[in-house]
């Protein structure tokens, strides 16, 4: 028997689509411009089940009928929400997706399955919205590259042990690759493909 | 004293007033109405609709009035307005075979089903001034109805050739996908035919005319026959999602031209004629004919021809046929460029100074050398 959820299957989207999406976009742009910085998306929104408010706001801001979305197993409850609010086609094949909603704690996450663009058009790559638990308390990794003055250390928690090595390997293919927007609660942090990632080896 | 362009708000607003004054001309002369333009300048209206990519005779007439008859400025007004319009859906493809014909001529057959219909054309006028048009004559032109009506359905010449297998077939790509829309998505090269046709349909008539002419003169490898040119009204149909069947939403006056070109074939493939296609809003024969010749030239790649001439090169044609873009960029040279020009001034003075110094130095050294030798 299905459990009765207090949450409507189709929660509310943006209260003010024009100005709320503009505010969210500026914060996403700031996150992507300065990788590893944490931005608070404070707009009121009713997120679909198992999806954070921040991830929901990112998708409401950027996704529409022109952007196929792929949902990781367990997050497919978001499909009707995205179809209703964004008109976004939900696709079965990760490499066909412009955006993907994934869970960073999953050992199944494979960045190589997504579209990493091609030599002539590296922009035609998937943007992944990655759920994590929080932006502190996790393993510290050091970021450098565009948007970072010197280096920046971040420590999101709730990510699979293989996550950072996989991102580092993906970003080593620059300018090909995928761009990540990590989300936790109402906050986001971006790791574009241009970011170089140094994962500390376990101290013996 | 000359002062650099420092246009304040007041100066800009004054230009708007001055242009309104210039547009009105002598106030003793009655003002044009947009209805007069729509009815009596209809070929200009057609051109503005084509290059403005918007079929609306009233708006085109307004654009012409507002732009003082400048076709490119008028097309620009249409384009800027067009981008703000919501897209409600795509119509069913027009059936030009079902056109209510006003004019239909073929150069490839002496006679054909439906006949040659000359219709309204300047082709057989002698270009002598009709000075009686100087004043308002008040006379109604005398036209009489023919004894028998025209055929309701006139086959298109390429279809006649196609029935015999002589014309290359043109079938939509698999699944008949929605055509590319270059006003919404960036064009990528090489460009497919749907992209090319859309660009040609909104392309500058003068530019396409020049390109078509270049093909005829030998800067392009094909000789076109005017298979057919037809002008008339076609019904426009839309299938609303909620109804699921086509609804007639009105008529559109269009000009269609299909050029028949030399055949292609090989030892194993039976030769067939190739075609170029032109379509324009309103009565716009020169545009439709030029478009069809350039369309055929651009098909060269698919037909294995080398793209040696401008009319055969999609990048060249598509990037340069849009007169609103071209006019904007050429005319942007009116904007101040004095920062860049200062960089050039600084460099040219430095290069000249360095050259003078070197010549002087070499002359001095030569002098020293001459003195030493003596």
């Amino acid at each position: 028997m299905q459990s009765i959820s207090s949450r409507s299957p189709l929660g509310k989207g943006f209260g003010d689509p024009v100005l709320a999406s503009q505010r969210c976009f500026r914060l996403i742009l700031a996150a992507m411009s300065e990788p590893g910085t944490v931005q608070l998306l404070g707009e009121a929104v009713e997120a679909p089940a198992h999806v954070s408010p921040a991830a929901t706001l990112v998708l409401l801001t950027l996704v529409d009928h022109e952007t196929p979305v792929w949902l990781a197993p367990g997050l497919d409850a978001a499909a009707p929400y995205l179809r209703f609010h964004c008109g976004a086609p939900v696709v079965d094949v990760p490499s066909a997706a412009a955006f993907a909603l994934v869970d960073g704690s999953s050992g199944e996450l494979d960045l190589g399955a997504f579209n990493s663009g091609d030599d002539r058009y590296p922009d035609r790559s998937t943007t992944l919205v990655v759920a994590c638990a929080a932006f502190e308390g996790g393993q510290g990794v050091t970021l450098s590259g565009p948007g970072i003055q010197g280096t920046r250390t971040v420590s999101p928690s709730g990510l699979d042990g293989g996550f950072w090595p996989m991102v580092a390997a993906s970003n080593a293919r620059y300018p090909l690759g995928v761009d990540l927007i990590l989300s936790a609660g109402e906050r986001i942090m971006a790791i574009p493909r241009s970011t170089r990632i140094s994962v500390p080896t376990e101290a013996g | 004293m000359y002062v650099a362009v420092k246009g304040g708000e007041a100066a800009i607003l004054a230009t708007h007033d001055l242009v309104a004054e210039m547009r009105r001309g002598d106030p003793a002369i009655p003002e044009l109405t947009t209805g007069q333009i729509r009815e009596q300048m209809s070929l200009a209206v057609s051109r503005v609709m084509n290059e403005g990519s918007l079929a609306d005779t009233d708006l085109a007439a307004l654009a012409l009035k507002q732009a003082q008859g400048d076709a490119i400025e008028a097309a620009f007004l249409m384009r800027a307005y067009r981008t703000t319009l919501p897209r409600l859906g795509s119509t069913v493809p027009l059936d030009t075979g079902a056109m209510a014909i006003r004019r239909r001529v073929s150069a490839t057959y002496k006679d054909l089903p439906g006949g040659q219909v000359l219709g309204p054309t300047y082709d057989y006028t002698h270009r002598l001034f009709d000075f009686s048009l100087n004043g308002a004559t008040g006379e109604q032109p005398a036209t009489t109805l023919a004894d028998t009506p025209l055929d309701t359905r006139m086959p298109r010449v390429p279809d006649i050739l196609g029935a015999e297998g002589l014309m290359e077939p043109e079938t939509p790509p698999e699944g008949d996908p929605r055509p590319f829309d270059l006003t919404r998505d960036p064009v990528e090269f090489p460009a497919d035919r749907d992209v090319r046709l859309q660009a040609l349909a909104r392309g500058d008539e003068g530019f396409l005319l020049g390109l078509a002419y270049s093909v005829q003169r030998g800067f392009g490898g094909n000789h076109p026959f005017a298979g057919e040119i037809r002008l008339g009204e076609v019904p426009v149909e839309l299938v609303p999602e909620e109804l699921g069947f086509a609804v007639d939403i009105g008529d559109l006056t269009i000009t269609e031209c299909q050029m028949v070109n030399q055949f292609k074939g090989s030892k194993h493939v039976a030769p067939q004629f190739t075609r170029g296609y032109g379509l324009a809003f309103g009565h716009a024969e020169r545009k439709a004919m030029s478009m069809s010749i350039v369309d055929r030239a651009l098909k060269g790649r698919e037909l294995g021809e080398t793209a040696a001439y401008p009319a055969q090169q999609d990048e060249f044609v598509l990037y340069h046929s849009d007169n609103v873009e071209a006019a904007g960029f050429v005319e942007h040279l009116k904007l101040p460029h004095y920062v860049d020009f200062q960089g050039e001034l600084e460099l040219i003075r430095r290069l000249r100074r360095e050259l003078d110094e070197r010549i002087a130095r070499e002359a001095a050294e030569a002098g020293v050398l001459a003195a030493v030798t003596q």
Binding site: P17, V18, S21, Q22, L29, M32, E34, L62, V63, E66, T67, A98, D119, R120, Y121, P122, D123, T127, P146, G147, I148, Q149, P175, D179, P192, R193, S194 | V3, A4, V5, G8, E9, A10, I12, T183, R184, D185, P186, V187, F189, P190, E315, V324, A327, G328, F329, H332, L335, P336, H337, Y338, V339, D340, G343, E344, L345, E346, L347, R350, L351
Partner: protein, 307 residues
């Protein structure tokens, strides 16, 4: 205290969507901007719309600004470094009308600066966004006219021909004869056109604290430089990159560190050099710096009769 030269701007016109563009178009531009930021210096194709201003007159920059701007922003618009040039006034009026935003001439007060041909003299700060109007985004276009080919050259990092061209200048003139649109290498990967800013401004792009966004409307390309990104002007070990210098300081504010415009004062060879960045020049004059011609007839003609 800065003087305001513009008359009151028109109020926001509610007949148009906020910032003119429809929301689907803004989303499309925003997605392109994020990819541009993720791949610094790479030109992202975008579905550039036909705007009510002419192509070549800043439609790319306008679309970028429209996709980014919000009611809380403060906008500065400059052309040739000046706030009061005709096109800058026209674009500022456009945004006042369609977005109702506050506008300013003070570089430090602006959250978004849309520019044509200059980077302000005052260093930009973190959080500011500089939007460039770009006529020709392709730095390789003069070497190769085909877009299909230049795209491959970028894909393969095939920038040899660009260096050859610069070196041919050196062989012929003793200098690289490019004084504006001087190509740069961004983040060690993409050669990028900095738009036709004078090469004097190129060093300001390197490790800037501000986000730099580039919009080419007619050519339908967007590109970006995130803050703190390496931007290197192409040069050679034996011919290092250098910027323009003038023999005299600004005739109005005495600045010796700014880009100068040459103003012809008569038809007998008279000329004066003044800051191209009008706000910078005013700020220095207000702070008490006095150039050689400040207060003379020639100076007064350019200083809005402030003296």
């Amino acid at each position: 205290m800065q003087k305001t030269v513009t008359s009151p701007l028109p109020p926001r016109d509610e007949a148009y969507n906020f910032a003119y563009l429809d929301e689907a178009t803004k989303r499309m531009v925003r997605r392109a901007l994020l990819k541009a930021v993720a791949v610094p210096g790479y030109q992202v194709p975008f579905g550039s719309r036909e705007m009510p201003l002419a192509r070549g007159w800043g439609t790319g920059g306008i679309q970028v600004t429209a996709a980014v701007i919000g009611p809380d922003d403060t906008l500065k618009v400059i052309d040739q470094g000046a706030d009061d040039t005709t096109n800058a006034v026209s674009i500022r009026r456009f945004f006042a009308r369609v977005a109702g935003v506050a506008t300013t001439e003070a570089t430090a007060d602006a959250t978004i600066i849309q520019t044509r041909h200059r980077i302000p003299e005052a260093p930009l700060e973190a959080g500011q966004i500089l939007v460039y109007q770009v006529p020709q985004p392709e730095p390789l276009r003069k070497l190769e006219s085909s877009e299909a080919e230049t795209r491959k050259m970028h894909a393969w990092g095939d920038y040899g021909p660009m260096y050859v061209r610069l070196y041919e200048d050196i062989a012929r003139f003793g200098h690289v004869a490019t004084t504006y649109s001087y190509p740069v290498l961004v983040n060690g990967r993409y050669v990028m056109s900095p738009s036709p800013i004078p090469k004097f401004d190129n060093p300001k792009m390197h490790m800037s604290a501000a986000l730099q966004l580039f919009g080419a409307g007619r050519e339908k390309r967007i590109y970006a430089i995130p803050p703190w990104t390496e931007v290197k002007s192409l040069d050679f070990e034996d011919h290092p990159f250098e910027v323009q210098k003038w023999d005299e300081p600004c005739a109005l504010c005495d600045a010796a560190d700014s880009y100068l415009d040459e103003v012809i004062t008569d038809d007998l060879g008279g000329r004066m050099f003044v800051c191209s960045d009008t706000h910078y020049c005013e700020g220095r004059r207000d702070a008490g710096h006095r150039g050689r011609l400040l207060g003379t007839d020639a100076g007064r003609a350019l200083t809005r009769n402030e003296e």
